[in-house]
């Protein structure tokens, strides 16, 4: 991990970091070696933590997602692991294309060198609105905005977007919570990870995540396997 001891590159997001790791370690974007990618990803996260580099929550979520893919590959249902992996690969390919396109477009940047005029203002009287609409139109738009949002309570698009993705995220989020709870040197009991987790697949994923995180030396179990702490340094 010598390369990590210098000033870290800053990435636009977890996908940017993953693409960097994939090209640096010459991984095949169409068939990623998850173990290796996860290992490198966690190394970066560790290095970032040591240099007090503030990483957005999305980096943590991606770590959890990689752990999850790794974990389900241990389950006797390889399809699920394959599906999760392909989703990730799909995201990476799509993002790589967006980056390539952005680079090309940047070459055409001319700045605001072609000046135009502001529209001439017509006198106010003439601007008065002339059309007529049915009042139902207002009710329709109200409904589209949504009652909660309409009251000014913050219900951003992000939340509703997340709901549509809930299927794949719900399991991962259980794993995220482990890492989140341990960050900052907290110790938690293993039992508490299962508090309120009744869904069987979620319990399985939680168990597997603990297993994986332990194996990678990210977290440590005490002697009687009841308490979890975050490892300060990589154990390898």
């Amino acid at each position: 991990m010598t390369e990590m001891q210098f000033k870290l590159d800053v990435f636009e997001g977890p996908l940017d970091l993953l693409l960097h790791l994939i090209s640096k370690h010459q991984l095949n974007i169409h068939d990623i070696e998850i173990t290796k990618l996860l290992e490198q990803y966690l190394l970066y996260m560790d290095a970032a933590r040591q240099q007090n580099l503030e990483l957005a929550g999305e980096f943590l979520e991606m770590a959890a997602r990689l752990v999850y893919i790794k974990a389900v590959s241990l389950l006797p249902k390889p399809e699920e692991a394959e599906k999760a992996k392909q989703e990730l690969q799909g995201s990476l390919i799509e993002y790589a294309l967006a980056q390539a396109a952005a680079k090309q477009l940047r070459e055409q940047f001319l700045a605001d060198d072609i000046f135009v005029r502001k529209p001439m203002k017509l006198p106010k009287v003439q601007q008065t609105y002339q059309l007529r609409h049915s009042p139902d139109r207002l009710a329709e738009i109200f409904a589209q905005i949504g009652k909660e949002r309409m009251k000014g309570q913050l219900l951003s698009d992000k939340i509703t977007d997340t709901v549509t993705q809930a299927k794949s995220v719900s399991v991962i989020s259980k794993v995220v919570s482990i890492l989140r709870r341990l960050y900052g040197g907290n110790t938690v009991t293993v039992d508490s990870l299962y508090d309120g987790v009744t869904d069987r697949s979620a319990r399985v994923a939680t168990f597997l995540a603990v297993l994986e995180l332990t194996r990678f030396g990210r977290i440590r179990l005490n002697e009687d396997n009841t308490l979890l702490t975050m490892c300060e340094k990589k154990g390898r």
């Binding site: 000046f115 135009v116 005029r117 502001k118 529209p119 001439m120 017509l122 106010k124 003439q126 601007q127 008065t128 609105y129 002339q130 059309l131 007529r132 609409h133 049915s134 009042p135 139902d136 139109r137 207002l138 009710a139 329709e140 738009i141 109200f142 409904a143 589209q144 905005i145 009652k147 949002r149 309409m150 009251k151 000014g152 913050l154 951003s156 698009d157």
Partner: protein, 188 residues
């Protein structure tokens, strides 16, 4: 291009982009000439407009200059631009209007919170169209200006009072607001 033509063109470019009257001193500074040379440059430009049947003219106002369309073109300009009046409200405008209508009086900040994007110019444009107006300051931190709907708003939507605002309908599937004209959207 002769140097003379070059200076005229530069003056033209500046006045064109400015849109409003610009002081002699500023023009002279940008062109790198003395203020006394500006009238000559402007005259040259005006001369070119005359000779080539241009629609533009130079206006000299006290110590400033402005590029404008000749008066005789006012009718055709009005015809072209007034069709804008007949354009239905944009989605953003319709939405902002709905938010103000159901929550009035509200600040621009409130509209922004609901919509998740700065909506200040949309509110201003609704005010220009006479659909909303200022309603004093609101008793929340910062005391921002509140906005409310106008009588024109009621007429546009065929309402006698705000109490007649319809109850929100449950969103139907496929019922996106596209801003396309429907049969109700006829000019009065």
């Amino acid at each position: 291009m002769t140097e003379e033509n070059q200076l005229s063109a530069m003056a033209e470019a500046i006045l064109f982009a400015a849109g409003e009257p610009l002081e002699t001193s500023r023009i002279a500074q940008a062109l790198g000439v003395t203020e006394s040379e500006i009238p000559v440059i402007m005259q040259k430009l005006e001369q070119r407009y005359l000779e080539t049947d241009s629609a533009l003219q130079i206006l000299h106002l006290e110590k400033a200059w402005q590029l404008a369309a000749k008066q005789e073109f006012a009718p055709v300009i009005r015809t072209a631009l007034e069709t804008r009046r007949m354009q239905p409200l944009s989605n953003a405008a319709m939405e902002t209007l709905t938010i103000i209508a159901y929550n009035q009086p509200v600040s621009k900040g409130f509209v922004e919170r609901v919509r998740g994007i700065d909506s200040s110019s949309v509110v201003n444009s609704l005010a220009d169209k006479g659909l909303v107006e200022e309603a004093g300051r609101i008793d929340v931190p910062g005391h921002p200006i509140g906005y409310r709907t106008t009588d024109l708003f009621l007429r546009v939507f065929g309402l006698r009072s705000l109490e007649e605002l319809p109850e929100p309908k449950p969103a139907e599937s496929g019922g996106t607001f596209t801003g396309e004209l429907t049969e109700q959207d006829v000019p009065s």
